[in-house]
Symmetry: D2
Subunit: 453 residues, 4 copies
């Protein structure tokens, strides 16, 4: 019998997938990882968090995405091995002994995510990347035990892909770069599930032109437009889906709700003893990995259902707004420091809302593409296009569209406030008429303005 | 200002939908219903229950489906009004004053569903149809309040569509018949999300040939093949998706898990006091509508996470199998009464499993299509095809394929047992070697057989 | 340098294809065949003949289809070699030395088709299968020269696949059986180009379950429903696309037009000397292969454009009806011998049409699936389903739907006549009022009837 | 009976279309136009000319495209009438009495196209736009007769939309502007048939945000990204499909072939008397409208088949290269005046090719989007985005991507030459070895360079 590491399933196993048609599993290790408790937990965590409140079709989980990233990585390995093995092309080639590390890292790259990831992390100071590494390398997890059966030190190798310290830059870039299996899967998957078409690009064609070289991954010149199209699709998904102002209006509520709970917990921990047991270690800011792995979206929602009946009116109201999808409204602002904002916050207070919990500034910016800028703080690997004589040019040199997006953050800053400010309850309408009017005068074409005369 | 009933939104509102492209909302009543607490709750209940354990892409909710049923109904009303209004075609025509009832009933037809619907109902004796009616007609719900603002008695009218006692048979058949907006949406939606193609049929073409007549809904002869194709698609979805043996292997676990909890609760109610509060009214078999509306998939899963750490080994093990997706395995059997089954159960017990909780018989049958059979207990409205001279023929008279499926249940009976019976833990393999071998000898081509010699 | 036979392209070449995404070419031989004059000619011959008059989107050529059949065959060979090579599974396995024969036969299987194939064959007594063999084996063709460079005798091997005498039944069945690469491509392609969905089936899944055995090709039991779905799709395409009554109404005109030309040519060959040179060998019923290869759809249409201005009113009128898409109308009849038909023909003559050229009986029947019936004249290879223990069952034994279609021709018989019979020119309406009325009385629900009282 | 102008079909007629699902026809006038000889002729003219030599799937005709443009226009009219009728919104609204003009102009906008349009026009000095107007307004055409039955002067009104002199700018912009029904259909259709995805944009969403105003057509701000996506898609289709270097390599051959025929005709008109009758009026540069309407792709191809056997070796060889798809090869050059080009032409002559017929400079440029620049020669209507307060901003002001493409031609200049220059016939390889080497030294990364050292 072959070693566990090289053990192939007697018959390839497939998982039907709406995005990639089939996910193909050939290694026993991969099948065991998929069946592990920590990976199965990802079924209970939505990929897009509050975005499904705007795009109701997008209810898919991180589990689906993880399988997708694995599958794209597998296809890349196949192509590299078929066309560019080291045996064939030498030092610029692909060494297939790195395949299993790549596949495991791809499948596990998001295993440390928790419920409502970014918001949860922000409030409870967790870090999904550190947690991913912890799950991969901690002896108590099933994931570790499976990986460790491959070889001692194997879990650490897989983890080093996540931390970008693995020896082979090709593997690192497959999983994490400006055009990697992770991004390619989520763009296609999120486009499919939201029902939008912006995220669609030609994966088959990109896989035809992707190729290894000694320092990482490049793309043949004749596929330049496919890569360009991917960058543009990514930009459009950010502008239209990920930064959608309504989803952010729900995220703000979620953040304030968890924040309120933390505050109340500090005052009176007993408040949460009856119904929020699994969350208590986080409210205490002291948790074990096992406690972390018990959390999922449903656990938080279950507690919100119970908080809705709590006495604290802010906790109860925010829980209800979140469960029943009552997002805050918003307008675009030029700067988070705009002095007019204080006037708006005052008006919000005047009609009866606590402005700490019922207003917010939310900035969403993304760098659709960046070239190599050693001087900038955050170094990103640029996308290299290989010409027919083997020389490289950087993507934005070859594409006017990418050049237009390169090196500049895209997004906006928005001020969030209760819907009641612009659609008052009939009961309050006359009482605060002047305040509402003043508020309205500062909005035009969805932006904050000085004041309409 | 127009009455609430007729109030149209100043600008039609749309929801992006991957199946229907857009869901179009024109009436304020519909928008308010969508935003109601009871309808929003459906976001937290999966449409397909345990099927997503087999088809990982199918994680969509009953909320998405409800919007889809609404949208198909809206399109049917539009077509009826444009081409077949009573003003135009007389008594066989469509009276558009029934539109709002139809739209509300379509949107709300599943509002009474709870978590893991069929299994939950079975164990806790709830009935989603009765609960749908209760939600629509109980003064404490937001749904009732919205409907009642349309007109007194309006909630009861909407409910009467659900109970099939509404005055207009066209409306009843739109929402519930062998080819209705409900089935049409779920086939298309489930096909889209599972990534299978069996459920795909030509909705646009069916909407071109659907037409009202005085006793209900019929289809023009030139669309006969589109209707035939729908019946075949439905059959294929049942055979390949809804009755998938792995999903049923998870359902069996879920059922036994809830059953075990009920049993333990009877013995010791305190066991659940600390962590399963929202479920207690159901364990007690005495619950209010409000208590019912607090439940969702996440609530049950949260309790399963806590049960996993309980002392009772059956409860704990089944909870773990469910959370970590460890389905029971199965074979097809000709009859639930086959005496060989007792031998298999004995073997299961012998190697250490409680056969009550670790084996099951699961029968899944569906009638893909039925014609009118007054003598049969359950009367179903047959599908009528209208010829160009206005006379009707029943679908199976016109289609050889439908005739092949008509009037006969399709499906199978399966015996479920622990995977360990055919893939023993290495530790036990030799100890119970004979029992495992005996078990294996009763299986051939996935079916129960006498015994291989 | 490797022999021509085994010569692979330095870089795989692809052709973008809307149905299969990419057509992949690895062998120099295949690329050379694609670039040959005889294969390029297929660009100028429509795949669906007169069907594009009904489904305007379906203007694709036999060239596209030929590439598609090649591609599916290539994928089957890949799967067979990867999973079922003789080295691996022995006598039931696939011997990859047959690959090139299979690929060439797939690409060339339709190379002998002429313009408006079936109609042309019928009038001019040509036979596309014989011509395919002739093109493959005649020294004057480019196709022959390429194949002969592979090895002496290789053209004859390829041709023997077409004539079903090749040594390896797996190869024969790939190209020609009840579920072969030819049918699979045309169903998917015709569905794509017509914009219908009936022809859609799950090719990927069929390719997952297809497998060789010593007597040919079989399908694993777990893919039975995918094969069933293919049979149903095929049936639907025949009923709704290939047998569409309007396309047949154009085909009848084309047939009568060519028939009229033949008749006139016999009377006066000079009539065609000025403008129909490329057709003359066929009017004479004596042609060379080279003359055959000069024909295409455009050549015939060019002559029709010139015939439209000819003096013979039947030739001129039929040419015009064909070019300007004026199909004959039709009704369904129970039998071609129905004595009522003579009455209708008489009425057609009475209002001024030559009934030989302006009426027709057209029977279209297809056997959607057949099992092995040695007693029936035309033996067809049945579809075999392989169970997990390796035993076979015949498809209609496993599928109720297929059983419903098996062994019985599906289709209808129609009587064609000029549209003017039911929509008279205003000028003639009163003159022949009685005749038109009599004609109309024999039609009900699109069928010939005795007479409405 | 209603007047012909307003006559609606008793039952809406539909044409199945793979791009728009269905084409809906409600007016008798439209159905009659579709059935006219001049529109039916468009079935015999490919939409994309030589592009199908690169993208074999793209064999669709101008007929399909014409139906598509009609359908998009129809949908725009429906939306305008439903949401923005003059009755509702006043002077910025849509006056539905212009509908029929718009629909007819949409359907007929390409009716004047001939075979291989741009190349044919170039050689024979025809102008498809003038011919479109001629077909619409000349009493001998069926199109004219149908339009004239609507009302006297109606043909001229329809023609004035084509010439952009019609009274209503909304109608003109629907049919011809930077985002019109013509472009929207061809992008979607060409993307569908080529099997590429670049041309895909969200038509449904664009139709949701399009709106009339008094000076034409605008788009709501919330649809800005959909319009942006359309511009990017258009750019990508030009770069990757329409300007594909291989298609242009076939176009160059076609142009030289027709050019050679013209030259030979001048020398000896009798050469074409036997077989090229329908082309003679064009070789003579004196033709009637009726003669023009006899031409189509098949007519030209038929003559090419006969020219292939002519004595003139250039005519014969070019005809063969065209029929058998042997494109010229090419390299990118910075300028058509680059003096190195003469050296290359000399080398082409040296190895035996007539450089007039076997080399060419081909420039392909497109302006993906332009804003209003009164000073530029060719004025194009800019795309206007309407903000929520009703003010307009020009598209490139709102979109960084569009700004990157605006006002600048995109494309390239290529030098075409025989494939033999870089892949010599083995027979010639040694004879002209030095010339071939010299030629090769001027090419690097697909571009003309000084010379590699």
């Amino acid at each position: 019998m072959s070693s566990y590491k090289n053990q192939l399933l007697p018959m390839e196993k497939v998982f039907r997938d709406p995005v990639h048609n089939y996910i193909h599993v050939q290694h026993r290790v991969i099948l065991d990882l998929i069946n592990s408790r920590e990976v199965q937990r990802l079924r209970r965590i939505k990929q897009l968090g509050t975005s499904s409140y705007t795009f109701h079709g997008a209810e898919h989980s991180r589990f689906s995405h993880s399988l997708g990233v694995y599958e794209i990585t597998r296809r890349i390995c196949d192509i590299f091995q078929r066309n560019y093995s080291v045996e064939k092309v030498g030092k610029d080639g692909w060494d297939d002994s790195h395949r299993l590390v790549a596949l495991c890292a791809a499948l596990l790259h998001d295993v440390g995510h928790g419920p409502y990831s970014h918001t949860f992390e922000h409030i409870f100071k967790t870090d999904h990347e550190q947690l991913t590494v912890a799950i991969i390398t901690s002896p108590e997890t099933e994931v570790f035990q499976i990986l460790n059966s491959v070889a001692e030190g194997f879990p650490e190798q897989v983890a080093s892909v996540i931390t970008k310290t693995y020896s082979n830059p090709q593997v690192i870039q497959m999983i994490s770069s400006q055009i990697d299996a992770d991004r390619m899967d989520y763009l296609l998957r999120d486009a499919y599930y939201t029902g939008t078409e912006y995220g669609t690009f030609d994966l088959t064609r990109i896989l035809r032109v992707i190729r290894p070289y000694k320092d990482g991954i490049a793309f043949s010149m004749n596929g330049m437009h496919a890569v360009e199209d991917y960058i543009v699709s990514r930009y459009q998904m950010y502008m239209q889906v990920y930064f959608h102002n309504v989803s952010r209006g729900m995220e703000v509520i979620l953040e304030h709700l968890l924040d309120r709970a933390s505050e109340l917990f500090e005052e009176d921990p007993d408040l949460f003893a009856y119904h929020s047991q699994l969350l208590i270690p986080f409210l205490k800011q002291s948790f074990t990995l096992e406690e972390y792995l018990r959390l999922d979206d449903g656990v938080l929602n279950t507690y919100f259902i119970q908080w809705r009946d709590e006495k604290d009116v802010i906790l109860s109201d925010l829980a209800q707004r979140f469960l029943d999808r009552k997002p805050l409204k918003s307008i675009a602002v030029d700067s988070a420091e705009n002095p007019l904002l204080d006037q708006l916050r005052e008006l919000v207070e005047k009609v009866g809302f606590n402005s700490r919990y019922y207003t917010a500034i939310n900035s969403s910016y993304d760098l659709p593409y960046d070239f190599y800028r050693p001087e900038s703080g955050r170094h990103r690997m640029q996308i290299e296009i290989m010409q027919s004589d083997g020389t490289m040019i950087e993507l934005s040199q070859a594409s006017r569209l990418v050049a237009a997006l390169a090196g500049q953050g895209q997004g906006d800053i928005r001020f969030y406030f209760p819907k009641e400010m612009i659609q008052p309850h009939p009961a309050n309408a006359s009482l605060f008429e002047e305040d509402y009017q003043l508020f309205a005068q500062h909005i035009r074409n969805g932006r904050l303005i000085e004041k309409t005369s």
